[in-house]
Symmetry: C2
Subunit: 139 residues, 2 copies
DNA sequence: GCTAACATCTACAGCGACTGTAGGTTCAAG
DNA sequence: CTTGAACCTACAGTCGCTGTAGATGTTAGC
């Protein structure tokens, strides 16, 4: 039991409240307590938390992380389920990138076309007020 | 006063509750009511709502939309402020795209490297458990 | 005019993934 | 033994909606 919640949080790069939140939603196990009621953590918890952090940095939702953690706990099970989660997430990311690029294109066109005069002639406001002036039907 | 809230919502592609929400947060003006207390809308409100919808589709936050609407109401003012909002938004979108592409790359590498056997040999779980196995320090 | 069906009303809770606050307690160093 | 930092619980707030419950309004057909 080598870490206080603050030490663990600093080590992983999370806020203290976030660790308590993870415990509350059952993503982290209930931590053992000192006589005074403070949480103490060990190396296992550090590893688990690093896993969570890393998965979050790759954009997995907390629910996906929950599933991945459950899978990681069964080394002898087939890894199809893990692949499926990662594959679905990859697809989602590709969709998001696609939508953002469409937005980006339309926005860049607006901003470039604006001569910088009065609102009355502003391409930005103008295009927003009239979807018909967009290149693409659906952004 | 040609539209009920439901008609307006269908026309613009918003849920009825969303229009009430917009009124509540002051993004739409308080609509006039029938004797029985139901909201009725006209062409002005339709235009305003289409502007909001379009700006949202381009990824502007509701606060940004609020500012853009305020600017649109002053045709004789200079359009610098509108350009600034759009420019800042463009920058944010570029950052998001960059982050998503970094995620995408790392994820794709994991998924491809996984042979599809047991969890114990699964690249997906393996990489998640050890950030050191990533190409990039920061995703 | 009456009834049935549908639309609308208010007020509130819930989502995800945290962050921030208030008011109190525990711990470790000096 | 005192001080001050770190910890505790419980709850509200963020954003942009969505969904619910229970009551009331509107409208078309008879």
């Amino acid at each position: 039991m080598e870490y206080t919640i603050g030490n663990l949080a600093r080590r992983v790069g999370y806020a203290v409240q976030t660790l308590r939140y993870f415990e509350q939603i059952g993503l982290m196990p209930e931590a053992p307590r000192t006589a005074g009621g403070q949480r103490r953590y060990g190396a296992r918890e550090l590893r688990r938390l690093l896993f969570i952090k890393h998965a979050r940095e790759l954009g997995f939702t907390l629910n996906a992380v929950r599933s991945l953690l459950a899978l990681a706990a069964h080394p002898d099970a087939p890894c199809e389920a893990a692949d499926a989660i990662a594959g679905a997430h990859l697809t989602e990311i590709d969709e998001k990138i696609g939508k953002l690029q469409a937005m980006r294109e339309e926005l860049a066109r607006m901003v470039e076309a604006c001569a910088g005069g009065l609102i009355a002639e502003c391409r930005v406001i103008d295009v927003l007020a009239d979807h018909g002036k967009c290149l693409h039907e659906a952004h």
